[in-house]
């Protein structure tokens, strides 16, 4: 079973050389810490910066330089700042090659719900709807089950949707899953120490298991 850092490390393996990537708040932001050696990736933050760098050292925080999660960051050489309309032009216009974001629920049709629990939690969707509606490549980072042990990988989402038929790949604390074009999840990898049986019982949606399922290779 993986923790948040393990999920971030596995997602970082999906990064491709010379691409622009948007990381959502939560687990996705951790991906920036594990970019594989030898590949060049530029991180875009929806609030208006490209070339986002790591957190600053103590005493060097700049109130005017934050990421989408309102955390203080730095900017690398070659970075650029722009307004919110330009930011979402990059996102909607498919200039960002990969989007990584969290989810509360994902359905076997590729629907995603990550912004509202009616009557309880209504923080808002932020840029998530723009991101999922436009991205070529979406990877969802999430826990396979909720705190009560109920599956979050479902036949149909019960919570208000962020987007429809948009998720392609999901990386959880238990597994790597793919959403198939015809619908249904396909199991690609098991987290270290996790069995296919564990994954099956944690997955409510339809799950295709073909052949022997390899374990994730994390260094």
């Amino acid at each position: 079973m993986l923790d948040k850092i393990g999920i971030a490390k596995r997602i970082a393996q999906e990064l491709k050389d010379n691409t622009y990537v948007n990381l959502g708040i939560g687990i996705p932001t951790l991906v920036a810490n594990y970019v594989p050696k030898g590949i060049s990736v530029e991180f875009q933050s929806e609030n208006g910066v490209l070339g986002m760098g790591p957190f600053p050292f103590e005493g060097q925080e700049d109130a005017d330089l934050i990421n989408a999660g309102k955390q203080t960051i730095t900017a690398l050489d070659g970075a650029v700042y722009f307004d919110s309309a330009t930011s979402f032009a990059m996102i909607r216009g498919k200039h960002v090659q990969l989007t990584v974001l969290g989810a509360m629920e994902v359905s076997e049709k590729g629907d995603i719900a990550n912004w509202k629990i009616p009557g309880k939690m209504v923080k808002g969707m932020g840029g998530a709807m723009d991101l999922v509606a436009s991205a070529e490549n979406i990877i969802v980072a999430m826990m396979h089950t909720n705190k009560k042990g109920e599956s979050k990988i479902l036949t149909k989402c019960s919570l208000p949707l962020t987007g429809v038929s948009c998720v392609k790949k999901i990386i959880t604390n238990l597994a790597v899953l793919e959403v198939m074009p015809q619908g249904g999840f396909k199991l690609l990898e098991r987290a270290p120490g996790v069995s296919v049986e564990q994954i099956k019982s944690a997955t409510e949606g339809s799950l295709l298991i073909q052949g022997s399922i390899p374990e994730m290779q994390l260094h």
């Binding site: 933050s45 929806e46 609030n47 208006g48 910066v49 790591p54 957190f55 600053p56 050292f57 103590e58 060097q60 925080e61 700049d62 109130a63 005017d64 330089l65 934050i66 990421n67 999660g69 309102k70 955390q71 203080t72 960051i73 900017a75 700042y81 722009f82 307004d83 919110s84 309309a85 930011s87 979402f88 996102i91 909607r92 629907d111 509202k116 009557g119 939690m121 209504v122 923080k123 808002g124 969707m125 932020g126 840029g127 998530a128 709807m129 723009d130 509606a133 436009s134 208000p160 949707l161 962020t162 987007g163 429809v164 038929s165």
Partner: protein
């Protein structure tokens, strides 16, 4: 050159009245017009409709107006940092329109640019699409979103000149340029106010044509919401 300078925040906010629609720049607490917000609290202007990406935190930014119940309706994309906001919303005291951040930005830009409506894929198939026209382009569904304008747009910039030209710093830019375009009257509060000629035309971000009043803010706290650092190993 046409001059836009006003001497203080009181003069800058003259005419901002109850029941108006205001656009307020900023992302979280970054790039917010702090002095104008403090003046709105002091004036007690109420029944406001505020268009702003976020609602500040409980005791800073727009949170100050929410605490005093001066806001009737918020149009935002994310309000997660403000417990008072969530409480007022869940209890029905506050009307809220949550809209996708990209659509919010583009609706402001369109409002300033004379584009009454546009199609976007964001929100199709979700609550956001309810009641909106849908049209297919290139085999993909899009929803029709309308432009947003405001009685007053209040923006914050790093530097401005007497003609109202503005330069923003780092991520404090965010919604300020597009909201500056969309206000019937745009008020710019700046950290540094300089005579015309000091800002290079090559470096100006927002042309002064969009700005009607500019003043130098007296005090900028520039509060940090999440101070995150890496340790020196």
């Amino acid at each position: 050159m046409i001059t836009k300078v006003v001497s203080n925040v009181q003069k800058a906010l003259e005419g901002v009245a109850d029941n108006m629609t205001l656009m307020i720049g900023g992302f979280g607490l970054c790039g917010i017009p702090e002095n104008s917000i403090a003046e709105l609290v002091a004036k007690g202007t109420k029944n406001l409709t505020c268009i702003s990406n976020n609602a500040g935190v409980d005791n800073f930014g727009l949170g100050l107006l929410l605490q005093k119940k001066q806001i009737k309706k918020m149009i935002s994309s994310y309000v997660g940092e403000n417990d008072e906001f969530e409480r007022q919303m869940l209890s029905g005291e506050l009307e809220v329109d949550l809209i996708p951040q990209g659509s919010l930005a583009e609706r402001c830009r369109a409002g300033g640019a004379g584009i009454p409506a546009f199609y976007t894929p964001a929100g199709f198939g979700t609550e956001v699409a309810v009641g909106k026209e849908v049209r297919e382009f290139n085999g993909k569904a899009h929803i029709l979103e309308s432009a947003l304008t405001a009685d007053f747009a209040i923006v914050k910039a790093w530097k401005g000149d007497h003609a109202g030209n503005l330069i923003f710093k780092a991520t404090a830019k965010n919604f300020n340029p597009v909201m500056a375009m969309a206000g019937k009257i745009t008020i710019a509060e700046v950290e540094e106010l300089v005579p015309v000629g000091e800002l290079s035309p090559n470096e100006i971000h927002t042309p002064g044509i969009f700005v009607q009043r500019i003043f130098k803010g007296e005090l900028f706290e520039k509060r940090i919401e999440q101070r995150t650092v890496q340790s020196i190993l």
